[in-house]
């Protein structure tokens, strides 16, 4: 944490949530709820990494007013977003749209997961000789080793890996 950063944080603290200013609220709680949800998804363009819900900047207050007006006039969430992007570009949205230009952003994590799962599945199908089970002699040596305490026995095991203290 650098001092500069903290000064900026101090600045951020000044921008304490003003969305809560009770005077501006819509009387209908359902509409107000929708407006709040939209605020949280809308970037405050003059702030740094804040939503208009968090910011006290005049522009954020303006945007909040505009969004509330549109919601009150019966606009859907989609129409409000379309209005915002038409006016400010997609930058204004905190949650980028699902579009091919944003495909990397939305799909990359799931592709990673999918690749991993496919690799795990492929590993299973790979013809590989199973490791032979321990012979009786090896079993007894293992037991002897374990009872002396010098062990590599998995500490996580409960059923399958007899711990140090099992009989």
């Amino acid at each position: 944490m650098s001092a500069q950063k903290l000064i900026c944080l101090l600045g951020a603290v000044l921008c304490l949530a003003a969305a809560g200013d009770p005077a501006d609220r819509l009387p209908n709680p359902a509409l107000e709820g929708r407006a709040r949800a939209l605020f949280q998804e809308t970037r405050c363009l003059v702030c740094q990494g804040e939503s208009i819900d968090d910011s006290e900047a005049p522009l954020a207050a303006d945007l909040r007013r505009v969004i509330r007006e549109r919601i009150a006039a019966g606009a859907s969430d989609g129409q409000v977003r379309a209005f915002l992007t038409a006016r400010y570009g997609e930058y204004v949205l905190f949650r980028p749209r699902f579009s091919w230009r944003n495909s990397v952003l939305w799909t990359a994590p799931f592709l990673v997961a999918l690749t991993g799962l496919v690799m795990l599945a492929a590993r299973r199908r790979r013809p590989g000789e199973d490791e032979p089970a321990l012979s009786a002699e090896e079993e007894s040596r293992l037991a002897a080793l374990q009872s002396t305490g010098d062990t590599l026995a998995p500490e996580l095991g409960s059923k399958n890996a007899p711990g140090l203290t099992e009989r």
């Binding site: 001092a3 944080l9 952003l105 994590p109 140090l164």
Partner: protein, 663 residues
């Protein structure tokens, strides 16, 4: 004079690190134990030298020696002593020094490690020395914290009140100890790849370092989050801010590494993947330091961009990570992966854990770097919390779903059906709790219900597994109780960590599902309702602070029955210089919940004085901070087990009482 001595010590440390690297590599090539000893000596000496430099800086802060630029810019005579000391790592230069201090400290610990084989240890000491050359070199030549001013000011510049906070003073040391702890893992991975030895024994040597780094990182992130929670006044505890993400990514990687290293240790499998994670974890640590320190990403925490230093840091990052991954690409294909395991087995469960953690890391990385990627294509944009919630949530849910089964499954080939049978009561309990939550708590929120179910599923799963571990119900109770201390501590470490995660999930889900906020402009004697609580503004006192004027409200919080829960005293400070204002949040802990009260600006003056009062009810939020603490404790417990087992492993010198059979 001390500053000059300190600066000299830092340059000395740079030379010693170079010696350490050179001697170690030469020792490995010539198989010369004397040279290796020389490298180890240099590692210890480098640590001592950096320590002297660090002590000199702290001394300059303590004595308010404003002829040192760093002190003049970041301190003030009126600061309490503890924050003067903490100021030593508050600035860019100071934090890099802290980084180097940790780096050489881990280097010294590595040099003192006894049981590593000659080749592996010598190479690891060499790699650690090379890291020292890069980072200490950057510090000495581009970011020296002990530079003098020719014309020292009488008073320092900074008396930032936000800096003066115990959680924030302790946050960087923990975080950096965690970040840099991963450097040892990185060094051991490179050494292992060079030696062609990434096997069970290697995984065993890597594990304690990973555990230590992971535990420290967990504590560091939690402290930072707690600080943001009570200091920023937004009622939230995680903002998906780039700086937060920078610390989360290495943590995710280290968590994955902890789990994959178990597979490598017990079964000799996943060797390549484990070494990849070891390199990746430290790379993300460095990336985090670069992102935070260069200011390349604007964020709530953003600060002035310093392009020259940013470029050098990027070069250090590219060189280190590039070398690591190039070595990986060259050597990893030579690693043999012998073990075979069935789709239902503990290995598979751990692999799924790794897949999920890798995917989450990918999401956080992509989201954090997205503005930069867009900029490369001439577009502007970025992502906010909604993106992370949408992507990370479902992925994590998948991992949590299978987590309790993992420790109950056998290695190689697990019996899925039998495991499910054993977990049946736990699953029923969790599902029942979820249903009850759904039925009882209004309004209905999916995230809260799912979170409570999943979190409890983890906790009950842990209890099931722990009961089996001590043979509860199958042997006499006294014998079971004996087993608690007799079974290896690593298992309990795992139980703690998993239970901590469960508590965290419950708290996080409950808080984000059912937090309430209420605000109103209140005159004296007026009140507002926050859920079942009632807040009444009793009085607002004004008074001067040391360098600010404060308005301190006294707000009585009563519950539904009219009993007083607490007297909240939020404060609003206006500073003499610049007229800035800050809020001091009042926290009323009530069971697991927090009532969070902030006083805003004054809306009317005179007889009808009124203030904006904002309040949040954060249900179960204590679990959000308790959970990670429990996880870190689990790490510490596991680590203590390691040490014992190492002692025993030393050719059975003397079986310690702890490890002897219980009977």
């Amino acid at each position: 004079m001390t500053a000059e001595l300190g600066a000299f010590a830092l340059i000395l440390a740079f030379c010693l690190s170079a010696t350490q690297a050179g001697a170690a590599f030469a020792a490995r090539i010539r198989r010369d134990r004397t040279l290796a000893g020389c490298a180890e000596g240099a590692a210890l000496a480098a640590f001592v030298a950096i320590g002297l430099g660090f002590a000199a800086l702290i001394w300059a802060f303590v004595t308010s020696d404003f002829s040192v630029i760093n002190v003049a810019q970041n301190s003030h005579t009126e600061k309490p002593l503890i924050y003067k000391i903490a100021g030593a790592w508050g600035s860019h230069e100071g934090s890099i020094l802290l980084w180097c201090f940790a780096l050489s400290g881990y280097g010294a610990a590595l040099a003192l490690a006894r049981r590593l084989p000659f080749g592996l240890k010598t190479l690891a000491v060499g790699v650690q020395g090379s890291l020292g050359v890069l980072f200490i070199g950057y510090m000495v030549f581009a970011s020296n914290p002990l530079m003098r001013l020719t014309d020292p000011p009488v008073e320092g510049r900074s008396l930032n009140p936000l800096l003066q906070d115990p959680a924030l003073a302790a946050h960087p040391p923990f975080l950096y100890a965690g970040y840099v702890g991963l450097s040892v893992v990185f060094s051991l991975a490179l050494a292992g790849l060079l030696e062609g030895r990434v096997d069970s024994a290697w995984a065993r040597w890597v594990r304690p370092w990973t555990l230590a780094a992971w535990g420290l990182l967990t504590v560091g992130i939690t402290l930072g989050s707690y600080w943001a929670y009570y200091e920023l006044g937004w009622g939230g505890w995680w903002f998906w801010d780039p700086v937060e993400n920078a610390s989360l990514m290495p943590w995710l990687m280290a968590t994955a590494l902890l789990h994959s290293a178990i597979v490598t240790e017990k079964r000799g499998a996943l060797a390549a993947w484990t070494s990849f994670l070891a390199i990746g974890a430290f790379t993300l640590s460095m990336l985090g330091a670069f992102l935070v320190r260069s200011g390349v990403l604007t964020s709530v925490h953003a600060f002035a961009v310093d392009p020259k230093r940013g470029t050098i840091l990027l070069a250090v990052l590219a060189l280190t990570a590039g070398t690591g991954f190039a070595l990986f690409a060259w050597r990893a294909p030579l690693l043999k992966d012998r073990a075979v395991f069935a789709p239902v087995s503990r290995e598979s469960a751990l692999v799924v854990n790794n897949i999920v953690l890798a995917a989450v890391t990918c999401a956080v990385l992509t989201g954090t770097l997205w503005p930069l990627m867009l900029e490369a294509f001439g577009r502007q944009g970025g992502v906010g919390p909604p993106y992370y919630d949408l992507v990370v949530g479902p992925l994590f849910a998948l991992a949590l779903l299978i987590l309790p089964a993992g420790p109950l499954l056998a290695w190689k080939r697990g019996d899925g059906l039998a495991t499910l049978r054993r977990l049946w009561p736990a699953a029923a309990l969790a599902a029942g709790a979820g249903l009850i939550t759904y039925a009882v708590v209004e309004p209905k929120r999916a995230i809260g219900v799912i979170g409570v179910g999943l979190g409890l599923w983890l906790v009950t799963g842990v209890v099931t597994e722990a009961a089996e571990r001590i043979n509860l119900g199958r042997i006499p109770l006294a014998a079971s109780a004996k087993r608690i201390t007799a079974v290896p501590r690593g298992g309990w470490g795992m139980s703690f960590a998993h239970a901590g995660l469960g508590l965290f999930v419950m708290g996080a889900a409950f808080q984000s599902g059912w937090k309430l906020e209420a605000d109103a402009v209140l005159g004296l004697g007026q009140g507002l309702n926050l859920g079942a609580y009632h807040l009444r503004l009793d009085r607002v006192g004004e008074g001067p602070g040391p360098n600010y004027d404060s308005e301190r409200a006294s707000i009585a919080v009563t519950d539904a029955a009219g009993r007083l829960v607490c007297q909240a005293r939020p404060e609003r400070r206006t500073y003499d210089v610049g007229g800035e204002t800050t809020s001091k949040v009042a926290l009323c802990p009530h069971g697991l919940d927090d009532l969070y009260v902030v006083i805003g600006d004054r809306r009317a003056r005179g007889a009808g004085s009124a203030w904006l009062v904002r309040s949040y009810l954060n249900p179960w939020i204590r679990l959000v901070f308790l959970g990670p603490i429990l996880m870190a404790l689990g790490g510490a417990l596991s680590l203590s087990d390691r040490r014992l087992r190492f002692a025993v492993g030393r050719r059975m010198a003397a079986p310690t009482p702890k490890m002897a059979p219980a009977e």
